[in-house]
Amino acid sequence: MSMAKARQPSPQPSRKQLLEFYESMALIRAFEERFVALVTQGKLVGTGHLCVGQEAVAAGVCGALEEDDYVTSTHRGHGHCLAKGVDPNEMMAELFGKTTGTSKGKGGSMHIADFRKGMLGANGIVGAGMPIACGAGLTAKLTKSGRVAVSFFGDGAANIGSFHEALNLASVWNLPVVFVCENNRYGEATPVEYALAADHVADRAVAYRMPGVIADGQDVVDVYAKAREAVDHARAGEGPVLLECETYRYYGHFLGDAAGYRTAEEVESFRSRDCLILLAERLRRDHEVGENQLDGIRAEMEARLDEAFAFAEASDDPALDELTTDVYVSYP
């Protein structure tokens, strides 16, 4: 790791923590798969950008954060929200456009936010979250709150101007921000090898005088360890870090994308390193966790989603006058 100063050795996650990661990843997986099922069954009309396959990044990075730390997310934000503690009931209700949703049904999948949880929002504009995270970091710095801001973004987003401006600004102002690239190898239908004129997104860190780190995004332990170091670095006032997590999305860009730009073999090769399977192996091997216990966790998460679905279904559509509320705090 190329951090400027050596940090304390990153703590090995405890059994308890590992089980929490498993739970977090299983919740995200269950949420996404439930969403797919509901759409497929016609119970829910719409689409969304699923993060199935990438759960370890959300769980590992958010596992390294305090509750009041900030996160900015992307169009592919369900996992980040859940890992940051946003209520699945409210999230599901949001996807149903119900008034009990995180955004009263006015935001939808690409705009789920919960400021009470430090979740500053999914974002439909590629790259937009990175400067916003700088602002949250600036607040943290000026108010000496000790908080850190994490900005998730994709490999495709590494080619947009706001990436450049945000990373430079964070470095110039020495902000407590960790930029987490989820390199899932594609921006829509475009392979990262084509769009990114560099071998790794993390290679760009030197252009901003900040550490650039690569983690195995399928291994939540590696993600956690490197995120933890990066977060500690930022929290200690040593400036921003760029952390690239190598991962993969199993579904297409959005639900409905047939993903004809990649081979079945490629998908298979990544699925064989599924984050839940890898962690389950580790838990069995090093922590004597039995298959039963893991099945139990996954079943619990399914039950959690049953509840979320019931909650969402039972909730009301927003009243029509909600069309023009929340536009302003005050409009004289």
């Binding site: 705009h111 495709g156 947009i160 101007g161 475009t190 084509y194 004809g260 990649r262 927003p318 023009t324």
Partner: protein, 339 residues
């Protein structure tokens, strides 16, 4: 089915217009995010996987190759700026901005560069650039993917702006746009892409700057653009039962605006409702309404009415989104205030 009867989607009409111009003129190129898809995978047989996020360009890279149909990184200010530079040096680029909402990251190449370059160079430069962009609500994509924003382009001197209302006009206007020596913004409403219409096989231009009378009538002029032309048509049918005979104007071009067609109609009917899915302030509806209020004032029998979206971001919830968009009921209600 004879050639005359051929019916295709707006999506296909767009594809045809670009294809024909690319065949005709080797300086025409197409660039944008995933206008092909699977870039760099040609060897693996995976090229042209998307043909654009809305699949209008399917097959073009296969026919014209990756030199002329270029996928771009997610770099809107980069590739639109490049399109300006290419246009100013001899190519005739068709660039795509997937959603008009993304103009927030790349207005500059269109505004301060493409639109002004001719003027700023004292006429030495020209910028034959076509920008295709998707507008409008209706597919549940909420505040950051559903705006109209054509009023921004219309505000800017040096840009031409066209807004087809169906497949036929999409093909004709896009062909005209690509052949035009000025920068043209081609705004296509997402909900029109799958709609079908008779479209001639051969290439043709529909003139930029020309509106059309979509329905003739004597009591009232309804003015629409993009999707609201259909809304006006629907309202006109309903208004028959109210004893109102409506004329419907489909603007098609916002800049230049066909003032004469609008004014001639309103001068005859004496009543007007402008219907616009855009936001209400400083928008298309205010523009057309103020034109009428000035130049057709003496013929008006009542206030100049507008039906627009509310002054609010586009909501996600389906029920709210539906309420957000102008409906025939809204138009009828407002129209009846004039009688």
């Amino acid at each position: 089915m004879t050639a005359e009867e051929r019916v295709i989607t707006t999506r296909e009409a767009i594809n045809e217009a670009i294809r024909d111009e690319m065949r005709r003129d080797s300086s025409v190129i197409l660039l944008g995010e995933d206008v092909a898809g699977g870039a760099g995978r040609e060897a693996e047989g995976l090229a042209d996987a998307w043909g654009g996020a809305f699949a209008e360009y399917k097959g073009l890279q296969t026919e014209f190759g990756s030199e002329r149909v270029l996928d771009t990184p997610i770099s809107e200010i980069g590739y639109l700026g490049a399109a300006v530079g290419a246009a100013a040096t001899g190519l005739r680029p068709v660039a795509e901005l997937m959603f008009v909402d993304f103009i927030g990251v790349c207005l500059d190449p269109m505004m301060n560069q493409a639109a002004f370059l001719r003027f700023m160079s004292g006429g030495r430069a020209k910028v034959p650039l076509t920008l295709i962009t998707h507008i409008g609500a209706g597919i549940g994509m909420a505040a950051q993917h559903s705006k109209m924003l054509y009023s921004f382009f219309t505000h800017i001197p040096g840009l031409k702006v066209v807004v087809p209302s169906s497949a036929y006009y999409a093909k004709g206007l896009l062909t005209a746009a690509i052949r035009d020596d000025d920068p043209v913004v081609f705004c296509i409403h997402k909900l029109l892409l799958g709609k079908q219409q008779h479209v001639p096989d051969e290439a043709y231009e529909f003139p930029i700057g020309q509106a059309r009378i979509a329905r003739e009538g004597n009591d009232l002029t309804l003015i629409g653009a993009a999707l609201t032309t259909a809304t006006c048509m629907e309202a006109a049918e309903v208004l028959v039962a109210d004893g109102v005979d409506s004329e419907v104007i489909d603007l098609l071009s916002l800049s230049p605006l066909d003032e004469e067609t609008v004014l001639a109609s309103v001068r005859r009917t004496g009543r007007v409702v402008v219907v616009d899915e855009g936001f209400p302030r400083c928008g298309l509806a205010t523009d057309v309404a103020s034109l009428v209020a000035d130049k057709a004032f003496d013929h008006l029998d009542g206030p100049v009415k507008k039906v627009t979206a509310p002054h609010a971001p586009v909501p996600f919830s389906r029920s709210l989104e539906t309420a957000f968009m102008p409906s025939a009921t809204d138009v009828r209600e407002v129209a009846l205030q004039l009688f």
